[in-house]
């Protein structure tokens, strides 16, 4: 099984040189640590940054310079700053090449739920609905089973939806999946030491296994 960093490392292999990428909060943020050295990847933060850099050195924080997680950050050379409307304009216009975000549930038809649990305090969708509705290439980073051992890869989401028919790829602690246009989770790779049987038991939606499934290499 992969740990959180393992999931992030595997997703980092999907990041191509010379692209603009938006990383969500949680495991997606870790992906930045594993982008190959020398790759020219520009990170977008939806509060209005292209070219987000690492955290500042102690004493060099600037209250006016934060990321979408409200953390103090820095800018890389060549960065730009813009307002929130333009930031989502470039997302809506599909200028951002890749979006990586977390999820509570994903369905076999590419629906995603990641913002609201009925009965619990609702914090809001932030920019998630805008991102999933518009991004041309979304990878979901998530745990495949919840604490109760139940699968979060479902035939149909049970939680309130964030977007419909928008997710094409999912990376979990157990495997890498494509969501097929006609529906279904097509297993592409499995985590080291994890059996197909294990994955089958952890996938409530339709699982498609064809031929030999290689182990994830990270």
């Amino acid at each position: 099984m992969l740990d959180k960093d393992g999931i992030a490392k595997r997703i980092a292999k999907e990041v191509k040189d010379g692209t603009y990428v938006n990383l969500g909060i949680g495991i997606p943020t870790l992906v930045a640590n594993y982008i190959p050295e020398g790759f020219k990847v520009v990170l977008q933060s939806e509060n209005g940054i292209l070219g987000m850099g690492p955290f500042p050195f102690e004493g060099e924080e600037d209250a006016d310079l934060i990321n979408a997680g409200k953390q103090t950050v820095t800018l890389l050379k060549g960065a730009s700053i813009f307002d929130s409307a333009l930031s989502f304009g470039m997302i809506r216009a599909q200028k951002v090449d890749l979006t990586i975000l977390g999820a509570m549930e994903v369905s076999e038809t590419g629906d995603i739920a990641n913002w609201k649990i009925p009965g619990k305090m609702v914090k809001g969708m932030g920019g998630a609905m805008d991102l999933v509705a518009s991004a041309k290439n979304i990878i979901v980073a998530m745990q495949q089973v919840n604490k109760a051992g139940e699968s979060k890869l479902l035939s149909k989401c049970t939680l309130p939806l964030t977007g419909i028919h928008c997710i094409k790829k999912v990376v979990t602690e157990l495997g890498v999946y494509d969501i097929l246009p006609q529906g279904g989770f097509k297993l592409l790779e499995r985590a080291p030491g994890v059996s197909i049987e294990h994955i089958r038991n952890a996938t409530a939606g339709q699982l498609i296994v064809e031929g030999e499934i290689p182990e994830i290499v990270i």
Binding site: S45, E46, N47, G48, I49, P54, F55, P56, F57, E58, G59, E60, E61, D62, A63, D64, L65, I66, N67, G69, K70, Q71, T72, V73, I81, F82, D83, S84, A85, S87, F88, G89, I91, R92, D111, M121, V122, K123, G124, M125, G126, G127, A128, M129, D130, A133, S134, P160, L161, T162, G163, I164, H165
Partner: protein, 232 residues
């Protein structure tokens, strides 16, 4: 040039009345109009409807106006990080309307572009779509979202001149710029108010035509919500 300058926050907000709708700039605690929020706290104004991406924290930002029970409704995209907010929301004292962040920013901006509504794919197929017109354009579904109508927009800029021209600093630009365009009356508080002619016209983010009142704020705290650093 028309002189838009007023003395201070108290003068700028003096005709904000109970029940009015306000756009309040900032993202988290970054770039919030600290002076105007403090001035509103000292008034008897209540039942405000606040359009703001977030609702501050318990003891700062719009959280202050929640403490004093001056807000009736929040229209936001993300409202975590605030225990008093949570209490008022769960007890039904506070109404909350959640709007996707890009839709929220665009609805603020559109009011200043003279565009009454716009189609967006954000929220199609979700509970955000309930009660909204859905249109299909070239095979894709969109929700029709309206421009906000706010009695006042209250924003914070870095520099401004007495003609109301504004320049924002770093990511404190966030919602301040789109909101500065969208108020029936826009109030701008700035860190530095200069005379006309001192700003480079080509560097101005919001032209003064959108700004009705401007003043130089005092005692900016600029609180950091998540101080993340690396060691030297």
């Amino acid at each position: 040039m028309i002189n838009k300058s007023v003395k201070n926050a108290e003068e700028a907000i003096k005709d904000i009345k109970s029940g009015m709708t306000l756009m309040v700039g900032g993202f988290g605690l970054c770039g919030i109009p600290e002076n105007c929020i403090s001035a509103l706290m000292k008034t008897e104004v209540k039942d405000l409807i606040c359009i703001s991406n977030n609702a501050g924290v318990d003891d700062f930002g719009l959280g202050l106006l929640l403490q004093t029970r001056q807000i009736k409704k929040m229209i936001s995209s993300y409202v975590g990080e605030n225990a008093e907010f949570e209490r008022q929301m769960l007890s039904g004292e506070l109404e909350v309307e959640l709007v996707p962040q890009g839709t929220l920013a665009t609805r603020c901006m559109m009011a200043g572009y003279g565009i009454p509504f716009f189609p967006t794919p954000a929220g199609v197929g979700t509970e955000v779509a309930i009660g909204k017109q859905l249109i299909n354009w070239k095979g894709r579904d969109y929700l029709m979202e309206e421009a906000f109508e706010a009695d006042f927009a209250i924003v914070k800029a870095w520099k401004g001149d007495t003609a109301g021209n504004l320049i924002f600093r770093s990511t404190a630009r966030n919602f301040n710029q789109p909101m500065s365009l969208g108020g029936k009356i826009t109030i701008a508080e700035v860190e530095e108010l200069v005379e006309i002619g001192e700003l480079d016209a080509a560097q101005i983010h919001t032209p003064g035509i959108y700004v009705h009142r401007i003043f130089q704020g005092v005692n900016y705290e600029k609180r950091i919500e998540q101080r993340t650093v690396k060691r030297k």
